[in-house]
Symmetry: C2
Subunit: 229 residues, 2 copies
Amino acid sequence: MERPLAVVLLSGGMDSCVTVAVAAADHRLALLHSSYGQLTEARERQAFQAIADHFQACFRLAIEQHYLSRIGGSALTDPSIQVPQADLGAAHAGLIPATYVPFRNAHFLSVAVSWAEVLGAGRVFIGAVEQDSSGYPDCRPEYYRAFNEVARLGTRPQTSIEICAPLIGISKADIIRRGVELGAPLHLTWSCYRSSDAACGTCDSCALRLRAFAQAGVPDPIPYRANLR
Amino acid sequence: MERPLAVVLLSGGMDSCVTVAVAAADHRLALLHSSYGQLTEARERQAFQAIADHFQACFRLAIEQHYLSRIGGSALTDPSIQVPQADLGAAHAGLIPATYVPFRNAHFLSVAVSWAEVLGAGRVFIGAVEQDSSGYPDCRPEYYRAFNEVARLGTRPQTSIEICAPLIGISKADIIRRGVELGAPLHLTWSCYRSSDAACGTCDSCALRLRAFAQAGVPDPIPYRANLR
């Protein structure tokens, strides 16, 4: 019998790459990427395509949601707001960093649910991480439980789509260990918020990634600016 | 004291136009429109701009979500699926018509909530109608209650945004009566799913509109194809 189809949100970063590897264990893959005016969007899309090639995805869809950069309100989409240096203590203090894109994940999940309904996929995977993350409000389990309810009520009665966030309670170091076990192509991923050639190493996303690789005792296979290595 | 700001989703149809009039009674207006590859998108956007001019909106934002037509699955966005002739009995039988765009309203609400968070608006208005409508799953009160929960959980802790659907329990005829009372510019609206010069009069949207104007005893001010009058 053919394996069931899952839609997986794949930014091109390490969390979403490992999420694809988790989903691939027992699903055929429909991989979804969004360019929304983030500073490194071309580099992320390149990572998406390379990872989709690696997993030989059945379907792939790369879309544009550039209206998010017109709405602004985030250092990721508004060039006049600087991407801050990492402050890994801020999340614990309940502060929302300047890289938060207002209500962003709802836009991604909406596309994933629409596509899943049209393809007949029963699951949507997202690589959201709560613990050990930047503290964005749309990365918490209760948010995904609420979105599941919206997906149940907002689609055809015969449609059944479950939102799955398999990494949400796992530390970044364990995500890397899990990725290595599953053979996830971490060398194809891109996480840096700022640059597209060599990762800056000093934004929140780089800092979380570098700390996690160090904790996992695994070398990070992507290039960083020389003065960091 | 300055009146509070509300984001209002304005397709350009009669329901959303009356919703703007309702919101305008005690809010400053931020009006939002989406082109998503629907057949009549240029005509709808023209209606949006004319209605926004009429209400002298403080902010207006017309965005593109054309990825919805790439996802397809609807007669509104896929030219290979014909817009069916109206069948006003189908909704009562629990059938979802071919014009249903999978999970569409979640895309619109996501934009509205993001924009409201950036603008500091406390309310998002949408002209969804349950009773006397086409029977789309994302036009029911429980769907909006669930989306309110997603908006509460997925935005900054200090953000408070309420989704309001003031027409959801009202008949289309009463929506017209309400619009007339409030001086809503119904002559500027466009509802037809099929055509952009004179309304076809025979798609679901036209049929619901024509029946409602007849029931309200008010002449419909927009042009229809000659053979209908």
